[in-house]
């Protein structure tokens, strides 16, 4: 037997041994299934690309996104906005900023708003839902009626109302307004999952062993109830990005025109859509692609973690 053949056989045996050993944790198992799913890979690539671009945006941007360049501005007329030219990859926008740089930096803005709004939504929502799920009784009733009120508003209407409450809008008011939409969703989700776990056999078994209430909640109920929250968080990133863009579009975002933000870019380029359609088309496409990426990733994550689909 040639050494090469021997090597191959060894590898094959090791492979079989790995397959025979069911030594994979839940997370590993989910990851394995995500890797086999083209939808998940597409989503992951989009999200990874977006995150890398967003983080590196200040270094990647060829021009300063906050500077109105004279050579662009000079060419602005009501009938024409300069297209691509040397040094300016996508040409100018309606104010004489470099469109390409602004799109790049806009990714960073979008990522910050999306992630922070989701984090706040998860943190506050899970605290409320966790309290409701852990204590039940009147705590549960009171908290759930509160979330019912929030849930009874259409999400974008709620975000607009919250944003409108602030005397002046800026980046933070957008984040808070968008997270308000996510809070009741996470609260209900975690509470429901915890209630389901409370009645599960292993929680009964743990109770029958005299395990302390605190331990039952934190070790036996909560970790088992987190799966839907993780999935929802990924999906919420997508909706947060869209909601934040919508708020900017409606004029409830950061009013500073020098700040590159996709929703604002989309809103302000409306009147120039006949002169230079890319001005509206590119930020819109960016929003759609990023939201799609998070949605694909979230949906495939849901599928991968679904216990009913485990073999």
């Amino acid at each position: 037997m040639t050494p090469k053949l021997l090597q191959r056989r060894r590898e094959r045996i090791d492979e079989l041994a790995d397959a025979g050993d069911a030594g994979v944790s839940l997370a590993k198992d989910a990851l394995r299934r995500m890797r086999a799913n083209p939808v998940a890979i597409t989503g992951a690539i989009i999200v990874a690309l977006f995150v890398v671009l967003a983080i590196l945006a200040p270094f990647l941007a060829p021009k300063d996104p906050r500077t109105q360049y004279a050579e662009l501005k000079n060419q602005l007329t009501p009938e024409s906005i300069p297209g691509p030219m040397p040094g300016f990859l996508l040409g100018s926008d309606q104010y004489g900023y470099d469109l390409f740089s602004r799109l790049l930096v806009g990714a960073q803005q979008t990522l910050i708003v999306g992630v922070l709004a989701t984090l706040i939504g998860v943190a506050v929502g899970c605290t409320l839902g966790g309290l409701a799920g852990a204590f039940g009784g009147w705590v549960d009733t009171a908290l759930m009626r509160f979330t019912d009120i929030l849930l009874s508003f259409p999400s974008i209407l709620l975000a607009i109302s919250v944003a409108a409450l602030f005397a002046e809008t800026n980046q933070w008011t957008v984040i808070i307004a968008v997270s308000m939409v996510a809070i009741p969703v996470f609260a209900r989700l975690l509470r429901g999952a915890m209630l389901a776990q409370r009645h599960s056999d292993h929680v009964l078994a743990a109770t029958a062993l005299g395990v302390r209430r605190r331990t039952v909640v934190f070790r036996h109920i909560l970790p088992n109830a987190l799966t839907p929250v993780i999935v929802q968080a990924t999906l919420t990133l997508a909706t947060s990005i869209i909601d934040a863009a919508a708020l900017s579009f409606l004029g409830l975002g950061d009013p500073d025109p020098s700040r590159a933000e996709w929703g604002l870019m989309l809103a302000e380029s409306q009147q120039f859509i006949e002169v230079k359609p890319e001005l509206a088309f590119l930020p819109a496409a960016a929003i759609i692609i990023v939201a799609l990426g998070f949605t694909l990733l979230g949906e495939s994550l849901r599928e991968a973690l679904d216990p009913k689909k485990r073999r």
């Binding site: 069911a22 029958a208 062993l209 331990t215």
Partner: protein, 330 residues
């Protein structure tokens, strides 16, 4: 004195504006240290509810528990939640029906074993770990050190039930309640688990309450058997007596419906006719009467009491004749 005394235990389910349902209706029995007692009956006869009531695991809302459960002289039904938690797992252990769902899927087996050791015996991490290895070894799990770091889904059903038994016995409880511990397992594994329980309990002071619908399980394990029907004990006897000579028509029917190796090939099994849905309330007479081949007119007029007959307790006006008499007549 008996270790566990259950007196007149009743459990009534029913929320406001709902018709209450009596799941357990005045059940009394006692278990002495080292004794194994079986609770037998078909689905819905109240056997699991009885065990949950003893452990204090029934939900507070919508359930009324009355009667008395004393464990080593302490009334369990009136203990506070905290006092009960201190006893559960330490004095009272329980093995559940479904080993697939009774272990926490997201934490390793080891943590689930050491958790109870640290809670009740105050062992530190290292000692608990060593003790856990020993426990898994004792219940026949090979390579216990590796198994401790594994998750429940990596273990087979039988292995999981062994782990659950190890957890239940971790603090050497004085009473172990096994609620259908073999129902979810296949037959060969059933036998292994039963043997394991027998081994672990025999020769120790641990009392065992075995809850099952499987008379085969009872036959191999129990000293005394309580047959439950619709929430009441209908017959209680020592194991050999019950199997050799079932007197209550229900017990008789249960035994008659089991295939036997020594019966003729052509012999038909004799099922109990009807279903639990045919029951009448105990207040109106014997709940089993509508399904009973021996029913008399009196059976549906006045409920029979649980009375001593020879060496057993029996709740029946017209019991099946003792085996010896029946043989003479047949």
């Amino acid at each position: 004195m008996a270790l566990l005394e259950v007196r007149d235990l009743s459990v009534v389910f029913g929320r406001k504006r709902q018709k209450p349902f009596t799941a357990v209706d005045g059940v009394s029995f006692s278990v002495a240290a080292g004794q194994t007692v079986g609770l037998v009956g078909e689905s819905g006869c109240g056997k699991s509810v009885t065990s949950l009531a003893i452990m204090g695991l029934l939900p507070k809302r919508g359930v009324r528990v009355s009667g008395s459960v004393t464990f080593d002289g302490t009334e369990l039904l009136t203990l506070s939640d905290k006092q009960l938690r201190d006893r559960r797992g330490r004095d009272l252990g329980m093995v559940f029906q479904d080993p697939l769902t009774s272990l926490n899927p997201v934490i390793p087996i080891g943590l689930q074993v050491t958790e109870v050791l640290r809670r009740h015996r105050g062992l530190d991490h290292k000692k608990a770990q060593a003790e856990a290895t020993e426990l898994l070894n004792k219940v026949g799990i090979p390579d216990p050190n590796r198994r401790l770091s594994e998750y429940p889904h990596q273990l087979s059903g039988g292995m999981r039930q062994r782990a659950l038994i190890a957890i239940a016995l971790a603090c050497q409880p004085r009473l172990l309640i096994a609620d259908e511990p073999t129902t979810a397992l296949d037959v060969t594994i059933q036998a292994q688990i039963l043997n394991l329980l027998k081994e672990l309990v025999a020769g120790t002071d641990t009392a065992l309450i075995m809850i099952t619908h499987d008379l085969g399980v009872v036959a191999g394990l129990c000293d005394e058997v309580n047959v439950l029907y619709a929430g009441r004990v209908v017959e209680r006897a020592a194991r050999h007596e019950l199997f050799a000579d079932p007197r209550h028509p229900y017990t008789h029917g249960l035994l008659g419906s089991i295939p036997r190796l020594d019966s003729a090939r052509s012999a038909k099994l004799a099922p109990i006719t009807g279903s639990v849905a045919d029951n009448i309330p105990w207040a109106d007479g014997c709940a089993f009467a509508p399904r009973c081949p021996n029913a008399l007119q009196g059976c549906v007029e006045q409920p029979p009491e649980l009375e001593t007959q020879d060496t057993r307790l029996l709740r029946c006006y017209n019991p099946v004749l003792p085996a010896t008499t029946a043989a003479k007549e047949g």
